[in-house]
């Protein structure tokens, strides 16, 4: 696939995904398990192991579960999953009741890291994350 065709394809998909993304948000609000293993554009994510690698509204979401030890090169706290959007780490935190927040949605809780990452994608409206704690 040449580069221009790919960009055109992504551009076309992004428009369609806006609608699907809203449907996903509604499903989350209704309490549906958002880790359905199928991302908004139909790509499969491997929900069973907790690993996520999906394209959502044109952004790549990658989630690596906590291992309890240090992750390779990541700045996030030990014991937390690494959540990345287009390769940039999203700072996340787990609340005492098991819900999740991120630095992008800091005052609103989500049931799991994937819901949190998708909310961050919607909030970013295409903007790239900056390195954690940086300017």
């Amino acid at each position: 696939m040449n580069k221009i065709t790919r960009r055109q394809a992504l551009g076309t998909t992004a428009g369609a995904l806006t609608v699907l993304g809203l449907a996903g948000a509604t499903a989350y609000a209704a309490g549906t398990d958002s880790r359905a293993g199928i991302s908004a554009d139909g790509a499969a994510s491997t929900g069973n192991t907790g690993n996520v690698d999906e394209v959502y509204q044109g952004r790549r979401i990658q989630i690596t579960p906590a291992t309890g030890g240090a992750h390779h090169g990541g700045h996030h706290s030990a014991g937390l999953p690494a959540v990345r959007i287009d390769g940039r780490e999203l700072h996340v935190m787990q609340n005492a009741d098991g819900t999740w927040i991120s630095v992008v949605n800091h005052y609103e809780t989500f049931s799991d890291p994937l819901s949190l990452a998708r909310a961050a994608v919607r909030e970013l409206q295409g903007a790239a994350l900056v390195p954690m704690g940086g300017m």
Partner: protein, 281 residues
């Protein structure tokens, strides 16, 4: 003595003085230090670890001290200025005068959330968002989109009626006044207002929006009102609590101020309408 006023009652001249002082702090770089400090605590405060600024009993005295420092910085620019407060139970729509172009400006446009009017609009050239979590340098808002309704007076009154300041485990899962006011439990007051404003106010770098100070000045006033209603209820915990700021422990980042030092706001400022019974406390 500084008097903190309801933002809805400010004169045109008071609004102009306040926004001009904000723009001057921004110009000198002083403003962004406050944003950096806040985000550092937002990322560092955890339910199971050391917690000072948020999700802990010291949420209220920490922000009282933080606002005092910010207000002093404003007064170094213009000594007539004090922090106004936003009573979001009363001024609860995007049509409130708070959001007019002569004060904070309004909501963001649909396409990218960018605020287009008022002194803090990006195009006005004096309010670049430098301390940020993503690439966008313009102030954003989405008033009423993240959540439909601001808290009501009845919801606030129900939280003010809670007689115990805070409770173990002293975090986001606690019962008691502090956590219900902060919003991790119950009707959700403080947190919900951040979400209602949207944009940077919903993020760890929320002080990028000047409404941060007006929101927290009202949260601070609600603490004073709670004290007036419950004069026998102390700050908790008293002593010996791991990871948590006890009554006489010092708070980072200042390390020379304790919750006990912050309990009586009248040492520092008064409100245009002091909480009932506060004078007998």
């Amino acid at each position: 003595m500084t008097v903190r006023k309801n933002q809805a009652a400010l004169t045109a001249e008071e609004k102009r003085a306040f926004t001009n002082a904000l723009l001057e702090l921004k110009r000198t770089g002083r403003y962004d230090h406050f944003v950096t400090t806040h985000n550092g605590f937002i990322m560092g405060d955890t339910d199971t670890g050391d917690r000072v600024g948020h999700r802990s009993p010291s949420f209220l005295p920490w922000h009282r001290r933080f606002l005092l420092e910010f207000e002093a910085a404003l007064q170094a620019v213009d000594k007539s200025v004090s922090l106004p407060y936003w009573d979001w139970t009363a001024d609860r729509t995007p049509r409130a005068s708070l959001w007019a172009a002569d004060f904070l400006g309004g909501t963001g446009r649909a396409r990218d959330g960018q605020v287009l009017d008022g002194p803090f609009a990006y195009a006005a050239g004096k309010w670049q968002v430098n301390v940020r979590v993503d690439g966008r340098a313009y102030l954003r808002r989405a008033l009423g989109e993240g959540v439909a309704q601001l808290p009501t007076k009845a919801e606030v009154d129900a939280v003010l009626a809670m007689p115990v300041y805070d409770a173990a485990p002293w975090n986001s899962s606690s019962n008691g006044f502090r956590n219900n006011l902060e919003g991790w439990r119950g009707a959700n007051l403080h947190n919900r207002v951040h979400v209602w404003v949207g944009g940077q106010m919903a993020t760890g770098v929320s002080p990028n929006d000047p409404v941060f100070w007006l929101h927290h000045a009202f949260i601070d006033k609600l603490w004073a009102e709670w004290q007036a209603r419950h004069p026998q209820s102390p700050y908790l915990p008293a002593a010996g609590t791991p990871n948590v700021v006890d009554l006489n422990d010092t708070m980072r980042p200042w390390n020379n101020v304790t919750p006990a030092d912050m309990l009586d706001h009248r040492k520092f400022y008064t409100f245009d309408a002091e909480p009932a019974a506060a004078s007998q406390r």
